[in-house]
Amino acid sequence: MAKIVVDVMLKPEILDPQGNAVASALPRLGFSFTKSVRQGKRFEIEVEGEPTADQLAQVEKAAEVLLSNPVIENFVVRVEK
């Protein structure tokens, strides 16, 4: 069974207060090398067998209209075995 994975991230120019909060918490745990943190979302969509080109196209569409908000976010669709 394969998974279609959609990663959604805030666009680089959009302020990410949650990522900033994580970035400021990490040094308190000893992770002093952190330059910055951006927080995003990951969707895993399971399909029977290998995803078809049509299914991937439909997931692209779903990512555009529902899973992400193109005003503030970018997304990437990929297949994970």
């Binding site: 805030l10 120019e13 302020l15 207060p17 949650q18 899973l67 503030i72």
Partner: protein, 222 residues
């Protein structure tokens, strides 16, 4: 004058919105998110709350509720629509208004009385106010930071489509202190703070929110 107030699963402020509609002189009509009928209303309010638990993104799932197809269609024909707080988020996700509301810049859920300035009194929902009038109404949200790209911001400012701005310190990181905007036609308005909680001094910081609900009556009569 019939003003619909939509209840989504997770909506909180529908009853206060309905009360404000009545106090403003109109009839309040309850609409359910699964309705495929706007019940002959003349205007619609999308109230505040946490529709669909704010899952995915605030307003993202409500946008696909059956009643929203009708609201989007009616709005495109000129019907007045007001989205307050979560309703504003739904209007942005529906692309009836540009931009998006993101997490408050300091991460805190804010709940306080907020001064705002009405900067456009020509919309269906703001005509009872004077341009430049300052009012105090509650602001209560976790994701109220208005964001959009430079072109959209220039367009909103250039066309006078910012309807209200925060006065004083920026509460949530919104661009240009934007508290509310309208569409090009002026019939769809989104506002982050809550005028429906400020229609009576006994229960709110002022009665200055009432103007949004009397404006809609003016819009229909004229």
């Amino acid at each position: 004058m019939r003003v619909g107030v939509i209840t989504f699963p997770g909506t909180l402020d529908d009853r206060d919105a309905a009360r404000a509609v009545v106090a403003g002189g109109s009839e309040a009509v309850s609409l359910w998110h699964a309705d495929a009928d706007l019940k002959n209303v003349d205007a619609v309010i999308l109230p505040g709350g946490f529709s669909y638990g704010d899952y995915l993104r605030c307003g993202a799932i409500s946008r696909f509720a059956p009643v929203m197809n009708l609201v989007i269609e009616a709005a495109s024909k000129g019907m007045p629509v007001l989205g307050i707080c979560n309703g504003f988020q739904v209007l942005c996700e529906s692309h009836l208004l540009p931009g998006a509301l993101t997490r408050n810049s300091d991460l805190h859920f804010l709940c306080r009385d907020q001064e705002i300035e009405i900067v456009n009194n020509t919309t269906a929902w703001t005509s009872s106010y004077k341009s430049g009038e300052k009012i105090v109404i509650p602001l209560k949200n976790g994701e109220g930071s208005f964001q959009c790209d430079e072109n959209t911001l220039a367009q909103l400012e250039g066309e006078g489509r910012v309807i209200a701005r925060y006065v004083g310190q920026n509460p949530n990181g919104s661009r240009n202190l934007i508290a509310g905007i309208t569409n090009a036609r002026g019939n769809v308005v989104g506002l982050m703070p809550h005028p429906e909680h400020a229609i009576n001094e006994l229960t709110g910081p002022s009665a200055q929110g009432l103007g949004f609900f009397t404006s809609i009556l003016n819009a229909m009569v004229n």
